[in-house]
Symmetry: C2
């Protein structure tokens, strides 16, 4: 009997924004695993803390650099090997994933390494996309509108083209790319439709119009939501 | 004292894919409201059923036609007026929303009518996007990839252009538009990367490669996920 690997979305930050299903998987799994920085806490582990019973074995996948910006092949190889050992021993392993496992999540690196050898189940989570829309009371898209998820590191000209061709957009992975994004949105006359959300659903949540923030001081876990038309109907 | 309006995401179908927060709001709210077809059951009400205590007052917003395809102004006017009356009387009202309230959800029509007069909170839900990715074990997007949400009713040429310009796509609202979508994907040589999911997380869930289904027999609550590159790393 080999174990099952669960990719468990733990949501955007508020521990109550975890699903009942994720809660049940975390109650039952004898082993949990999660990525963490080289030194210090794992965000996913902190979000899930109230749902993890005492005495669970924990596999910590330490990343030599910020795993969101610089995923490290060797760290995932090592983590996957450790998880595989537990699965081969018949233990289920729950991997904690910020937001949703398959929406720009690092879980897919473990998934890729383990999917041929082990049964895998994914428990979807509340992603930052839905969390930011809810926090800022900004509908993402309606009816037959096109919604584009645009990572901020792309070139300004590319971002401009894509914003021109979409009805609504979520611009993610902001951080140091924010001044460029700010300039493109201003140029397209979209600043008054651009909502800024940082640390959605966490105690330090920040919701403002983009025009009112300092684009030089934006964290990585922030998002801009733009919708060209009003709600309608 | 006026009441608060809650837009509550009840998730894609599995009653366990509701958040603890949504569960708590539904335990506390004296009034629940939801859209329903002119005759018969509301899907959102059915998903949320295990979480709704007995004896709650229910405001049913009857739609003269399929509300996803043909939202009806008058029905929302009437529903919003009934909700407003409860809120003015000091009662909190929880509106049940399939998936997530702000991801192509009809909640935004109520939101639009009530946001100037009442406090509103949105409880994000697991959307069909994340549910279909999890059900089909298909990562949506990674790193700096662009993800496009494309409603199937658009013209074939438009769909083709947008698919050419994106790294990954979710094609939604399929139904009778599926033969057109199928032809465009075949033409772009993307059929072998196109995953089809219907009724995600429900008892009648269907997960297949798009190439293996009959495009003439596709329900409205189905989605195609395409990702051009592999997982990488």
């Amino acid at each position: 009997m080999i174990g099952t690997l669960y990719g468990v979305g733990v949501g955007p930050g508020d521990p109550d924004l975890i699903t009942l299903k994720a809660h049940k998987v975390l109650q039952a799994a004898p082993v949990i695993a999660y990525p963490a920085p080289e030194v210090g806490d794992s965000l996913a582990r902190r979000i899930a803390a109230p749902h993890i019973p005492a005495g669970r074995r924990e596999i910590i996948i330490r990343m030599p650099l910020d795993p969101k910006r610089f995923p490290d092949r060797g760290a995932y190889d090592k983590g996957a090997a450790e998880i595989a050992k537990a699965l081969r021993g018949g233990e289920d392993v729950a991997v904690l994933c910020e937001g949703d496992p398959f929406f720009y999540g690092s879980f897919m690196y473990l998934f890729n390494r383990l999917t041929d050898a082990f049964p895998i189940q994914v428990v979807p989570g509340i992603s930052s996309l839905m969390a930011c829309a809810g926090a800022s009371l900004t509908p993402l898209a309606a009816r037959n509108e096109v919604l584009s998820i645009l990572p901020a590191p792309m070139a300004a000209a590319d971002l401009r083209e894509r914003l021109l061709r979409t009805d609504a957009a979520a611009i993610i992975k902001l951080g140091r790319h924010t001044p460029k994004v700010f300039a493109v949105l201003r140029d397209l006359d979209l600043l008054d439709r651009a909502h800024y959300v940082a640390h959605a659903t966490m105690p330090d949540q920040q919701v403002q119009m983009l025009a009112d923030i300092d684009p030089e001081e934006v964290p990585y876990f922030a998002m801009i939501l733009v919708r060209k038309s009003g709600v309608g109907l």
